[in-house]
Symmetry: C2
Subunit: 477 residues, 2 copies
């Protein structure tokens, strides 16, 4: 009898693989080891749970353990895989029921990523959080809620949530001031979430603009808008440490020596792939530090796959491996590997680095290569133009300024990236750019796209078309 | 000296050509003949002007005659071109200043289309309108406004509007019942517009569903929604005639003999290209009855171009000529011809038949070939699937059902069309389909698109991706 498929990690990639495999090949035994209690949850929903727009933790669960069980998946929560022996075809597991070796027929590494706290001392203090996991999201909301009105039960997540820890935060007085360290998309989303409570929000960002991967035009618009909405924005400000007092956060200290009093600190300075379990194996890491895989998600070791935030993928613009950990990528790669293991070889698909983020009323999107330096490193000669156009016909109510940047390679005329920001359904328009990147369209072809026009939805010339017209003109020179 | 470029028609295509040419080659003389008074107006905005969401007629003007003059364009309003002599290189013009022959160096035919009233007698009655032109839009709004509160001046459009006619309608008592004949997009938009006033709205549609070019799934959703919003929908109902009483509309009579009393009738049963001026010339018409052109918009006669609602274009899916008169197409083709005439040959670009329409709260979109019969006629073996998915993460407020149909060719697996309907930013998502069609993507490639995901904007699997997954599964069989 074949050894079971072993999947390490019970979130988007791991459970997508397990679900697809168990549906396509119900006979094949599948075991999923998850070191935590939470499985299959919507990481991206955490800021909205903290904000209170999403009621309970249960709302963020895609699948309950019971549903997973119904699919015939043997899910072992609180079981940590601490080592892999690819020669023996076993994983070493530590669980409440002791340590054991589990043989596998095929192995799927879906260990995800963890929030980095970088070189910032104090991240272990009470009141300091990374927003990576539902327990910390629950704790932040508990802290923000005045103790008189707080009950752990109101947050849901029964059987998962760390009640004791969350209750402790629920008993504390809410902070007057919150410091967010890091102005990436988690930082920006958390600014909106915290602002919904009665707290002064300070956002510290090392570079000169927030969400730098979205490019300058988006960053500038978002910076202005965050300030408009009352967020104290500290740009070009490196946080050196979180200041502690009796084991709790009392403030932050910046590189220039300045300090700010704050009773809540959220650190969102990026994530790192969880690759430790394969480090002493022939499984290879890519330049990014994440696990290198082929077009089917298979690693350098036959029968060992990797998917999700711990693995690289092929970038559709450069055709090179890239590590851009995002939800759709994890779901899709997991699903493809499940299908491959069920006997139908299926490519995991490329990534375009498409990302969207809501910053209060501003919708932001990006796809492909937006940064000039990154473009040059990838061998392109980038030409970029930014335009601001209407989101609807000028005479139609609700028309809002929409700023689009498009980037092309000068020699080939090919579109290599773009970004967008605006208040009126700007974010989904980035899908036009993502689709054009997948299709390998030139700027002239983008300019010729027959995009939707009707006064309530779009002007005659969609903002993406306006940008393509201007960039096309620049390329002709 | 070269004879001037003569442009026949002063709307989207004609003035786009004139503007581009005068910008790129200011020395070249350009004369635009427009038989009416209105120029460069937003036809698509008329329903929203009738509704009252757009205040004045002036809001719908893209360019005033003064602005056109500033661009160095010699615009002659109320000058009708009644004939073309391609051998002599002249057009016959009739204007207030008499009849004359105008020699041309190059000729651009941008005569547009007119509303058909088909075989429906009574369309000339007082209270019967087509919504094709700002005078009729003004008249409908005047009729809907109670006389006590009406003033022609409030509607704007000074120097253009037919004041006498509009004032006459303004003095009438508003109708109690309105009949809309034709459930295409104009009919559906007018239902929303008329419903905003104190009037019972009846919509008569010959086929079994409204907006049939959007396919069944969209038609069904729109039919349900129109009824929900109080529109009396008469499907499979052919209107035989408008009943008159003392020269005014008093009702409609259907093919089955049934009648409905109505004091306002809007006839929107399609448009026909205005090609009469070239009918006795070597300029050729296509199978559609519109003017046949090459990729630069040039007709069978050298130096004679056609653009906009009177001309065909190349369809990106079939690579064959097609006649789909829409605003973006007209603007783009006109602009390209202007550029070509200025010395830089520029293709007018293909069309994907992308269209979007708002039906009260439902946003509808379509692109490519949606209809099975049309697909078979074009040589495809169509396979189609329809799915309903969320517009946002299920837990995020504002998530709405979004129904997507995708159509592919069985043999090649290529996407050939799609449609969408839903209440939450559904319309702009059709741009993903339009872009995929231009890129010639297969369904597998669409399924692999890295589309935007963030809880406020889209679920992990965008509705278009869900549809591609299901259609991809069907193609494998």
């Amino acid at each position: 009898m074949t050894d079971p498929v072993v999947i390490v990690g019970g979130d988007a990639a791991g459970l997508s693989a397990a679900s697809k495999l168990s549906r396509e090949d119900p006979e094949r035994e599948v075991i999923v080891f998850e070191r935590g209690r939470w499985v299959s949850y919507a990481h991206c929903g955490e800021p909205y749970f903290v904000k209170g727009e999403v009621d309970t933790l249960d709302d963020l669960l895609s699948l309950s353990p019971a549903e997973i069980d119904e699919r015939g998946i043997d899910l072992r929560r609180e079981h940590e895989v601490v080592g892999v022996d690819t020669d023996a075809g076993t994983v070493a597991v530590e669980g409440a029921d002791g340590s054991f070796e589990q043989p596998y027929g095929d192995l799927v590494v879906a260990t995800g990523a963890r929030a980095r706290t970088g070189p910032i001392p104090g991240s272990e203090l009470t009141g300091a959080f990374t927003i990576h996991g539902l327990d910390s999201a629950a704790a932040v909301r508990a802290l923000l809620t005045p103790p008189a009105g707080f009950s752990v039960d109101d947050l849901g997540g029964e059987g998962y949530v760390d009640r004791e820890m969350v209750a402790r935060y629920g008993a504390m007085e809410p902070p007057e001031t919150a410091a967010i360290v890091g102005g990436g998309y988690v930082g920006v989303e958390m600014a909106e979430a915290l602002d919904a409570w009665d707290v002064d929000v300070h956002l510290f960002q090392r570079s000169e603009l927030p969400i730098p991967t979205f490019g300058e035009a988006v960053g500038e618009t978002v910076a202005d808008h965050l300030r408009e909405r009352g967020v104290d924005l500290h740009l070009g400000a490196e946080v050196d440490e979180l200041i502690g007092e009796d084991g709790s956060v009392a403030g932050v200290r910046c590189g220039d020596g300045s300090t700010l009093k704050a009773e809540l600190a959220v650190v969102g300075v990026g994530v790192a792939p969880n690759v430790e379990i394969v480090e002493d194996t022939p499984v290879e890491l890519g330049d990014s530090g994440a696990i290198a895989v082929d077009e089917y998600g298979e690693t350098a070791v036959e029968g060992v796959y990797a998917a999700g935030d711990c693995a690289e993928d092929r970038h559709v613009v450069t055709d090179e491996p890239a590590w851009i950990p995002l939800g759709l990528t994890a779901n899709r790669a997991g699903r493809a590997i499940g299908q491959t293991l069920a006997g139908t070889p299926t490519e995991t698909g490329g990534i375009a680095g498409t990302a969207v983020v809501k910053a209060f009323d501003e919708e932001c999107g990006r796809a492909g290569i937006v940064d000039g330096e990154e473009a040059r490193e990838a061998g392109f000669d980038p030409v970029s133009r930014t335009v601001t156009a209407g989101s609807r016909s000028g005479y139609y109510p609700g028309n809002e300024e929409t700023t689009v940047t498009l980037v092309a390679d000068r020699e080939s005329g090919r579109l290599i990236g773009g970004s967008i920001v605006g208040k009126d359904r700007a974010a989904v328009r980035i899908d036009t750019v993502a689709t054009a990147l997948e299709g390998g369209l030139t700027v002239a072809e983008v300019e010729g796209l027959d995009l939707a026009y009707a006064p309530p939805f779009s002007p005659v010339w969609d903002p993406v078309l306006v940008a393509a017209k201007v960039l096309g003109g620049a390329l002709e020179r």
